[in-house]
Every structure is written in C-alpha cells, then in structure tokens.
C-alpha cells in the first residue's frame, strides 16, 4: 500500500463526559474513495472536522498528508477541499464571486483564480448562473457550487460531509456523476453519509461507525458478503400482526429482523422463503425480494436502522 494520506489511530474527541469519537483508527490511501457510514450522531461529522484540521482532537494520533493538524492546521487546510454538511456560501456575493473570494483564502493569484473560477463553473454546470445571486439557486445548484468552491485550490483530498442530504433524486444523481468524475481523476474522496446507496455508488471502502466507534470495515460488497445474506425477503402483515407472525416463523431463512412496519427474512434465496411462507398459510399483504444492502449490514451490526 502506498503511504496513506490520512492516518488516524485511537482518534478521540470528548466533550466533557461524552465521547463523540471514541478511539477511531483508520487509514486512507491516495486516490481512494473512503466512506464513513453511520446514523446521525455517530461521530462522523466530528471525525470530519478533526480530519479537516478545524477541530482539535482530545487524544490519539492523526496525520493528514504527513502533517499533524495540531501544529500545521493552515498547511493541511491549504491542501484540502471541504464540502460541509450545511452550505456556507456567502449569500451577499454572486455565484462567481463566491469562488473568487474563496480562492483568495489560499493565496492564489487573482488571474489564476479568475480562470479557475470559469473552469469550475463549467464543471459544476453553473456557467450560465455565474452572475446570479446565490439565494436564487436551487438546493442542488448550491451544493454543486459548494463542491466547485472546494476545488478552487486543487485539493489533494476532498472531504464531503453528507453531500446529498436534502436533495431530490435527480439532483443527487447529477452530484454523484460529478463526484465520480473527480474520483476518476484520482482525487482522494472522504465522505460521510447515512445513505447506503450513496456509499455503494461512491466508496471503494467503508467504515461503519456507531456511537463513536468502528463497527466494521471493508468494501461495500465485502461488508454485505460478511455481514448479511445474498437476498432479503421483506414481508408486511400489517403493523399489529407483524410481531405475532414473526413468532411463528422463527426458523425461516438465516436470520429474521422484525421492524415496526415489516419483517425482514435474510436468505440466499428470497423467493424460496416466500414460497415457504405461503405454503404455511401465512399470506403477507405485500412482499418484496431484494438484494442485501449496506442498510442490512448496519441493522445487523447495530440493531438499528440508519435513517431513523
């Protein structure tokens, strides 16, 4: 493995008695697309702020691009691109000026920024909105502008905190496409998400985080292989009957999860499980056979759903 661009060992952040991040250890290789997957409050954003060299760690070791954030914050940040969870574009400035002003923070010469700004607007598909007010952009456009802004300094690592939260499906797909292009160009991506489809789309490797600690690590495919069955049968019997039916079918599949609105039966062959149910005289209101996803991995590891 080449020298990692990010090395964290026993990384910890405490607020008084509460450990938001509790001894995380991970490495990110150059060019890798690395995801932190977990529910809200798992410590993902806090980890991102520490990696982004804006939040001081309580203990543990952290090295970003060979530098310690405690002593070289500005030097590290000069090589990062950050897309925060909440857009913090300047509403008082126009679209293009947001890029120009941001470029200044890195000490980039004006002529270079001006050229770069036009390139980035094109990349973000916002060239025709260069003179618009930021307020007039849609949510997806603001997000793309934030990503464009994060690229103004040609970052070695791009940090994305919940990049598509709150966007409609079409806007998400446009954004994924842009991020995928960056990945193809060799940019190291580190992203947090609580959407498993996003993690599956974009990440080479994932760590599943809950309550500040790592629950599992691997590629999306290997996580599913190691922690879940190939297929899942989802059946609904109505919210008052689910628990009752679940007791009757305890032996079905490899494993059963009973959720308030449905029962999940994990098995290599979902259709076969469905046939067994109907043969036993249990006719679900709706049924669905699908492939296992990271959501199932998460459920298995934590006993909780990702999106609550």
């Amino acid at each position: 493995m080449p020298v990692p661009v990010i090395t964290a060992s026993s990384l910890t952040k405490r607020y008084k008695d509460f450990a938001a991040v509790d001894g995380l250890s991970f490495e990110v290789a150059p060019g890798e697309s690395f995801g932190l997957l977990g529910p809200n409050g798992a410590g993902k954003s806090t980890t991102m702020r520490m990696v982004g060299a804006v939040s001081t760690r309580t203990s543990g070791e952290l090295s970003i691009l060979g530098l310690d954030p405690n002593s070289h914050g500005p030097e590290i940040r000069s090589q990062l691109g950050v897309v925060p969870q909440q857009d913090n574009l300047d509403m008082e400035l126009r679209v293009r000026d947001n890029l120009i002003v941001y470029g200044c923070y890195f000490g980039i010469p004006r002529a270079v920024i001006a050229k770069k700004a036009d390139e980035l607007l094109e990349f973000a598909q916002l060239s025709d909105r260069a003179k618009s007010k930021v307020d007039d952009l849609s949510g997806g456009m603001k997000r793309r502008l934030t990503i464009a802004r994060a690229l103004v300094n040609e970052p070695k690592i791009l940090l994305l905190d919940e990049p598509t939260t709150g966007l409609d499906p079409q806007a998400r797909h446009i954004l994924w496409d842009r991020l995928f292009r960056l990945k193809e160009q060799g940019t190291t991506l580190v992203l947090t998400t609580h959407y498993m489809d996003e993690a599956e789309q974009l990440c080479d490797r994932i760590v599943v985080v809950d309550k500040g600690t790592i629950m599992a690590e691997g590629s999306p495919a290997s996580l599913i292989r190691d922690h879940s069955s190939r297929e899942v049968l989802e059946v609904r019997f109505g919210s008052d009957r689910n628990a009752e039916v679940a007791e009757k079918i305890t032996g079905a599949g490899e494993r059963i999860e009973v959720l308030p609105d449905r029962i999940l039966i994990y098995s290599a062959d979902g259709e076969a499980e469905l046939v067994k149910l109907t043969e036993a005289g249990l006719n679900p209101i709706t049924s669905l056979v699908r492939r296992s996803s990271l959501e199932d991995v998460f459920l298995r590891l934590t006993g909780r759903s990702l999106v609550e």
Partner: protein
C-alpha cells in the same frame, strides 16, 4: 478540466500555508468589504446625509435656542456648533462601529456562516477576528473623513489640528466596536441582544458622554458614566484638537490610553472567542 489531484502528491508539504498565514487577516477584510457592496448605496447615503442633518439640526437649529457660548475652559468660549461638532463626529464613528460589530458577527457564525468556510480554508480564528476589525475600520475612517469635511463646510472647526479628529474619532469607534464584538462573537442565538445593545448601550451613551452639554453639568453621581464611556474620551480628545479645550495634560493622555487599552483588550478577547467557537 483539472479539478483536483493534478498536482503531484508530496507528503509533509507546508508551502500552501505561507501566504495564508501572512496575509489571512487581509483576505478576510477583503471578503467582508466585497459583502458591503450589497448595501453600498445605504452606506454612501448615510455617511453623507448624517453629518448634513445632524450639524444642521443641532449646530444651526438647536444652537439658535442655546445662544450662549460654551466655555473652552481658558476664559473664552466657542459657539454651540463648534462645541457639539467633535462630539457628533465621534458619535458617527460609534454608530458605524455598532453596525459593523453586531450583525456581521452574528451573520458570520450563524445566519450565513461564512466564518466556518474561511476556517475550513487555511484561515485561523484570530485572522477572522482581525479581518472583521479591519473591515470595520474601512467603514469608520471614510465616514469620519466625510463627516469632518462637512464640519469644515459648516465652519465648525476653528483649529487646523482639528483634522486629527478624524483619527481620534476613528479610534473611538474602533474601541467601542471591538468591545461590542467581544460580546457579539459569543452570541449563539439572537434573542434581541443586539437591539438591546443599541437601545440600552449605544443610545444612552450619546446622552451621558458630554455630547450635547459638558459632562460637568450632570450631577456628580452620574458623571462616572461619562468617565467609563469611550465616547466621552473620544469627544473630549476631539474638542482639545478642534478648539483647544483646556484640560489637564494627564487627562488628554488618559483619553488616548483608555481608548487604546480598550482596543487591545477587545481585539484579544474577540480573537479568543472566535478561535474557541470555531474549534468544536
């Protein structure tokens, strides 16, 4: 399109931090000044309109009621216009300082959190605080200069040294501005604190700082308000320069020391608060 990762990866590279560390405060100020453009017309209108209205209303209108001379302390006297003008100049600086030290701070942290964006780039909390102070001065100094020019038009400044009043008034605005910032930079949620500052801090200060009448005309148990008021110190300095108000030399020095002292303390506290608040 070479968005990212195009430059070769070099571990331990610190070259990107050199310029931001050196000039970061100025980058922040420049950003803030660009933001001011969105209300540039208001800025110009008020900085020209205010001196015209106030000098006319007080210096000409009110002066016709107050037709006696105000003592200079040296046996002579000056017109009410001459007496009130340095105070109005200092007050104008304070008004602008109050504008630039309240809502822009709240905005940068909360309403439109551009400070977080700056900090994600190589800019430190100290530099953000410094930049906001510099940007505030960029508004205060021209406001004072324009005000002073109008004072000249009204014939309200007898002595050439009076021109230094631009500096002393700016210093007064700076001192009050950074003290306000040291508080507003802490505000997590706007529950009317900033309106409170204006209504119960800034406005009463105008009334108890020897602005419209000499402080000595207040009962002694109210005069302390003037002594701690930066506006009083700035006003008295302006009067010494404008028409040679006579006061003990130590007091003139005390005015300067007090204003500079407040500035240093205010900037330092603001830097600490901003830095702490960003490092969560």
């Amino acid at each position: 399109m070479t968005a990212a990762g195009s430059s070769a990866l070099r571990m331990g590279d610190t070259s990107g931090g050199v310029k931001p560390r050196r000039y970061g405060s100025w980058y922040v100020a420049e950003h803030r000044i660009r933001g001011m453009r969105s209300y540039l017309q208001t800025i110009i209108a008020t900085s020209l309109g205010n001196p015209l209205v106030y000098l006319f209303a007080l210096g000409v209108g009110l002066a016709s009621l107050v037709d006696q001379q105000v003592s200079t302390g040296a046996g002579g006297g000056v017109s009410y216009l001459t007496f009130v003008a340095p105070a109005l100049l200092a007050s104008a600086a304070v008004t602008v300082a109050a504008e630039e030290s309240t809502y822009p701070m709240m905005m940068g942290f909360k309403w439109n959190p551009i400070f977080l964006g700056m900090n994600a780039a190589p800019i430190s909390g100290n530099q953000i605080a410094n930049g906001m102070v510099i940007a505030m001065m960029v508004r205060i100094v021209p406001t004072c200069a324009i005000y002073f020019a109008v004072m000249i038009l009204f014939g309200a400044v007898p002595l050439p040294l009076g021109v230094l009043g631009i500096l002393t008034s700016s210093l007064t605005g700076l001192a009050i501005g950074v003290i306000i910032m040291s508080y507003t930079s802490r505000i997590e949620e706007d529950k009317g604190q900033m309106a409170f500052i204006m209504r119960f801090g800034i406005t009463p200060m105008f009334l108890f700082s020897g602005t419209f009448f000499p402080l000595t005309q207040l009962p002694i148990y109210l005069q302390w308000i003037g002594w701690i008021s930066p506006l009083w110190h700035g006003t008295e300095l302006g009067r010494v320069l404008s028409y040679a108000l006579v006061e003990p030399p130590w007091l003139t020095i005390a005015h300067v020391v007090y204003l500079v002292g407040l500035t240093v303390v205010g900037v330092r506290i603001t830097q600490n608060v901003v830095t702490r608040r960003l490092n969560k």
